[in-house]
């Protein structure tokens, strides 16, 4: 009885989330290719199945059946470990993201719409996000390849740098919500979305999210023209697929967090009457954020690396600090 | 009430501390030594947290918080010194850096 609620239910929920994310990743790649193609006035994948809808599956099969190549002189253990380390944090973050507002009962168990609601949720996200660096750094180092190492160092310093304004922005959110729990944060947005209370914070978060996920225009880690393929140069087959997966799941995670922190999470019209709408609203908002990210990728050119770092340290960081101070002062004044 | 006895944690802490100390004493690579020092600090932190629970006091946790701040500073400065050392001597071996002797 006890172990069901303690172990089994979370395990099943985790499984659901992971499966959903893997599927989401697969179709996200499809959607992105389609969208980018449309932006570029092309058709995109349209051979496998109607509208190319089976394209992700064929891609996956191709990846899986590729020959496993492990280059000479790599650090075996680390080389094999790093793709997994890349995917893991992005998945683990989902443990605390509430996807809907309503719990429901199944087989006598009250199922909450999140794996866990820890009271240090926001800190948890920051802590886990900071672990995302490892996969990349280790991949770059273990490949025993200059391009890989440079790409890895670039990526990790980029991620570490952009973590700062992101964290500070989230502190502003935390100040308004008054809780570290993500459920509480979403509930605090019942009336007004934090995107409206924290417009600057939202924009900073979004920019930092792009950089964290290594998305265009901050996709320096994989600048083909400079670094071949960055930290992933020496990877192929399923291992490359894992990196790929990591990036896309990261993207979804960033979008989901943006939704949770700024766009009111599951809230929307009539959500109190029809609880299941919460999940729908949540997914719509996430999809919108993902669309924004793809749109930006299709529109903006890549930024030079030094400009990227300067932008972070000399503009975003002071701006986020200012935002934090203003938020705190206003909160004190308003009460 | 407490499922795991405090003494278990204390013993684990002692073991980790001794291992860390052994690392400091046995290894000659400054990096490994620094890591071992960090490990020793963590062992002490574990003691603090365990006793914090045992005594129902938050002071232990606060102490750990401060230790973490100090550890962060220590690593930052220590590694900066290490890099400078590497620039000057092209080594990370502590036994190569023994010119400060009586």
């Amino acid at each position: 009885m006890d172990w069901i609620s303690l172990l089994l239910v979370p395990a099943i929920k985790s499984l659901v989330v992971v499966v959903a994310l893997l599927t989401g990743f697969a179709y996200l790649s499809y959607v992105e290719r389609k969208l980018v193609a449309r932006f570029q006035v092309r058709y995109g994948p349209n051979r496998a199945g109607p509208f190319g809808i089976l394209q992700p599956i064929s891609d996956a099969l191709k990846m899986v059946f590729k020959e496993e190549i492990v280059p000479l002189n790599v650090d075996h253990v680390v080389y094999l470990l790093s793709p997994a380390l890349t995917v893991m944090p992005a998945l683990v973050i989902w443990a605390v993201i509430p996807v809907s507002g309503a719990s429901f009962t199944l087989f006598g168990q009250t199922i909450t719409p999140y794996v866990s609601d820890v009271n240090v949720g926001l800190l948890y996200i920051l802590a886990i996000a900071s672990l995302a660096t490892y996969g990349i750094v280790l991949a770059g180092w273990s490949s025993n390849n200059k391009y890989s190492l440079l790409g890895a160092l670039r990526t990790s310093s980029q991620m570490l740098s952009y973590e700062l304004p992101m964290g500070i922005t989230l502190v502003s959110v935390l100040l308004i919500a008054g809780s570290l729990s993500l459920v509480d944060i979403v509930q605090a947005q019942r009336g007004v979305w934090f995107a409206l209370l924290q417009p600057i914070g939202f924009i900073i978060y979004f920019i930092c999210g792009l950089a964290e996920a290594g998305r265009s225009p901050f996709d320096l880690p994989e600048t083909e023209n400079e670094l071949v393929s960055g930290f992933a140069t020496e990877y192929g087959g399923i291992k490359f697929a894992l990196f790929f997966m990591g990036e896309y799941i990261h993207m979804i995670t960033i979008s989901a967090l943006a939704t949770t922190f700024f766009l009111g999470g599951w809230y929307g019209p009539f959500v109190n009457q029809i609880p299941v709408l919460g999940l729908v609203y949540f997914l719509i908002k996430v999809a919108f954020m993902i669309f924004l990210i793809v749109w930006i990728r299709a529109s903006l050119p890549r930024i030079r690396y030094d400009k990227l770092m300067h932008f972070c340290w000399k503009f975003l960081l002071p701006l986020s600090l200012l935002n934090l101070v203003v938020t705190a002062v206003v909160l004190v004044l308003v009460g | 009430m407490t499922a795991v006895p405090t003494s278990w944690f204390l013993l684990l802490s002692a073991i980790l501390f001794v291992i860390g100390a052994g690392g400091v004493l046995l290894r000659r690579n400054v990096l490994i030594m620094l890591m071992s020092v960090e490990m020793m600090m963590n062992a002490v932190n574990l003691t603090f947290i365990a006793l914090s629970r045992h005594l129902s006091s938050l002071t232990g946790q606060i102490f750990v918080f401060m230790v973490m701040a100090v550890a962060a500073v220590e690593v930052a400065v220590g590694l900066a010194i290490l890099i400078e050392l590497n620039r000057l001597r092209a080594t990370t071996d502590v036994d190569d850096v023994s010119s400060l002797k009586g």
């Binding site: 303690l6 680390v78 240090v120 | 405090t6 278990w8 291992i19 860390g20 045992h54 129902s56 290490l82």
Partner: protein
């Protein structure tokens, strides 16, 4: 049930922590040592959760795993010190002495842990009480009231440490006479 579960969890985590700790000091490769250190830290963080100190656990992950070990890895890569290291002769009188001393210390502390009792003033921060106000709030309140001065001092220390690291890490391109510039490149 929950007790066995927790004890089992403790033993597993303790095993991970000890193995990882041994890995730190016995690995020939500094990157592997750093990874072992990471494992050690994460295991400790989980032990903190077990000790009902979630806040510290998260901070542990964020600070140690998220920052300190990354810094170690960076430096390892920067210095190119990741390669195999000469471990030197292990079996000499010095090592034996150190191991013996370590065993003595371990015996002493172990005996103390199991024979002694912990006498100390019992505070008010019982798990129930903490659960009522929330873990983070409890630590935060203590930090900003009773321990405000240490907290501020810690912030100053961090600032100074940051400046120190920046200054130390700077490349002196002959800006200061007497500083080697060329050979360091």
């Amino acid at each position: 049930m929950a007790q066995q579960l927790q004890q089992g969890l403790f033993l597993a985590l303790a095993g991970v922590a000890v193995v990882a700790a041994l890995g730190v000091i016995f690995n020939r490769n500094a990157v592997h040592s750093a990874l072992s250190l990471l494992a050690n830290f994460v295991a400790l963080a989980m032990l903190y959760v077990l000790l009902n100190a979630q806040f510290i656990a998260i901070v542990q992950v964020a600070v140690y795993a998220g920052a300190i070990v990354v810094l170690f890895l960076f430096v390892v890569m920067l210095l190119g010190a990741g390669g195999e290291m000469q471990m030197g002769g292990w079996l000499n009188w010095r090592t034996a002495f150190i191991v013996a001393a370590a065993l003595v210390l371990l015996t002493l502390t172990g005996t103390a842990v199991f024979e002694g009792t912990i006498n100390g003033a019992i505070g008010t921060a019982t798990p129930e009480q903490i659960a009522q106000v929330g873990q983070t709030e409890a630590v935060g309140t203590a930090l900003f009231t009773d321990y405000l001065l240490p907290f501020e001092l810690a912030s100053v220390l961090l600032l100074v440490g940051m400046l120190g690291a920046v200054v130390l890490g700077q490349r002196w391109r002959g800006a200061i006479a007497g500083r080697p510039s060329g050979e360091a490149e």
